[in-house]
Subunit: 322 residues, 2 copies
């Protein structure tokens, strides 16, 4: 049998059998954590799996995303997408996005492009909707930032694109090893659509990666966040049939009914999410276990892992009750 | 304006403008190649983009997949998925798959699992359908093969999982640098579901990668092919809501109406696909251009590329008319 704590990508891969005992969530539900994991720690001979480590984690291993950084997109379908914004990496773009949200600019905005193995993109299809006052119309090219102050925990594995990769402040990070760092384009990461330079995008046009990480976009676009919840709705949208995956005239375009920042709604209604502290011991053990799979399914642990396959674990937590 | 030859992942990324002039196909359509590309080669000062190189390729740069290696899955919806099988990497599993197809075993088989950012998987949900005679019930673990004879063209970029990566015979390849090679788990690659060792799967349960390459599965599963056409249908299927993305009882399961090997149908009805010759000069130029994007959109070419972002270009070709 499989360990009860096998989770998401940590869990057994393509199986012939339907007799499975694992939690399937991309986002680990703290509420669903099997209590058995605490009662039955892995035997000394069997190194902990990534799932074991998540199950055995304690509250101090996690930190909450600030309410001001949670972007809630409620679609006409009733589905919600929650995105964590990254003001530490693209402060001007993120500030623009917050202002667009607060001005109601995103309300009624549609998904216009779904290109297979690339991006889902939303914005003003008419390109005529005026931006609200206070938006920085030509933000700086926030494609990189100084690595100084990030205290990146480096992964000891090579990367095909960057001199170094690792984690900082709950985010995946890539760097040039010479003082610059950036958020890599991984599945579920959110960026700012733009035209050719010197345009950097305002934040009014956003996209999320829906396939293998298009890391060649790193350092060429402002990456502003990560989808925490609702990705499986975005990724299953029909691919657009026009060039570059744009929807054809008349094809259904999912519409955002309401975009809000969590900090702007009553505390009891705010969704809350935690990310594993990327500087802590549990996270270090988790990345190591992801690179050296000990789950019963695996015959040959890889001894390495791609940054996009070790995005920090995220979990929803109950709303504040005060 | 953008080059007419910008294609798929070689084309401009998230744009603010809808004024685009590129071909959107994941699989390059030879028939749709803009003639303008031949008439207007890139200026001497502007290095060729990956799209330019595809547009300028000649017939000798391409090779056809053998009809005996093309697996056609026709779904009840009318949609077709075409998979190239890789007998050079997993001959016993591929032979099993051909036998299952020829016995009609896959007809009526359903997709039972769609896990976000992982796999789409099909097989016998009842686990009671008897296998036809002649199937090898316990194939060898065809997870690796000798690199000897493959003549791998190595990529000069590091990989997070393998000692080396490159291409051979129209396929992406990873290797340990000590004589073993295998097909990496990239978006669109097809593998054989199995139970825990010593089971290796028969080929009756198959899956395709629908997210960031789960390369930790390399060397742990028989990888047997690649989706050439129809991926955008598989990738947009609703995610299953049961554990590991399995569909719940009562959720719609897409069914295979008919599975065939192209060689078994009349020549005029056979779909035909070509792959760029991975040992040739056009492919060498193309991989280099993918690692060093010169498209007008890019400010900062990466100087590297992940093996899963340089899967050999594939294109449909007209059926034989004799």
């Amino acid at each position: 049998m499989y360990h009860a704590a096998m989770i998401a990508k940590a869990c057994p891969p393509p199986l012939r059998s339907l007799a499975l005992g694992a939690a399937p969530l991309l986002i680990l539900s703290a509420l669903a954590l099997p209590l058995a994991a605490a009662a039955a720690p892995p035997a000394a001979k069997s190194p902990a799996t990534a799932g074991d480590i998540l199950a055995a984690s304690i509250p101090a291993d996690w930190q909450a995303f600030p309410d001001a950084d949670l972007l809630l997109l409620d679609f006409d379908s009733g589905r919600r997408v929650v995105i964590a914004l990254a003001p530490g990496f693209a402060p001007v773009h993120v500030d623009n996005i917050r202002k667009l949200v607060r001005a109601g600019w995103f309300d009624g905005i549609t998904i216009n492009r779904v290109q297979d193995n690339y991006v889902v993109q939303w914005g003003d299809a008419t390109e005529k909707k005026p931006l609200p006052p206070g938006i920085v119309s030509a933000p700086p090219a926030e494609y990189e930032r100084p690595a100084t102050g990030l205290d990146v925990r480096r992964l000891p594995y090579p990367d095909s694109y960057a001199a170094m990769v690792g984690h900082a402040r709950g985010w995946p990070v890539a760097g040039d090893g010479k003082g610059l760092a950036w958020l890599p384009h991984c599945y579920g990461m959110v960026g700012v659509g733009r035209n050719v330079a010197p345009d950097t995008g305002t934040g009014a046009e956003l996209y999320v990666v829906n396939g293998h990480g298009p890391r060649h976009l790193d350092r060429n676009i402002a990456t502003v966040g990560r989808v925490l919840s609702g990705m499986e709705m975005l990724s299953a949208l029909p691919r657009g049939t026009e060039q570059l995956g744009f929807y054809k005239e008349g094809e259904a375009r999912p519409a955002i009914r309401s975009a809000r920042i969590a900090a702007d709604i009553p505390p009891a209604e705010r969704p809350r999410f935690e990310v594993m502290k990327t500087g802590g011991p549990a996270f270090a053990a988790w990345t190591k276990a992801r690179a050296n799979r000990q789950d019963v399914f695996f015959n040959h642990p890889a001894g390495g892992v791609d940054i996009c396959n070790v995005l920090p674990p995220v979990r929803p937590t109950p709303p504040l009750t005060r």
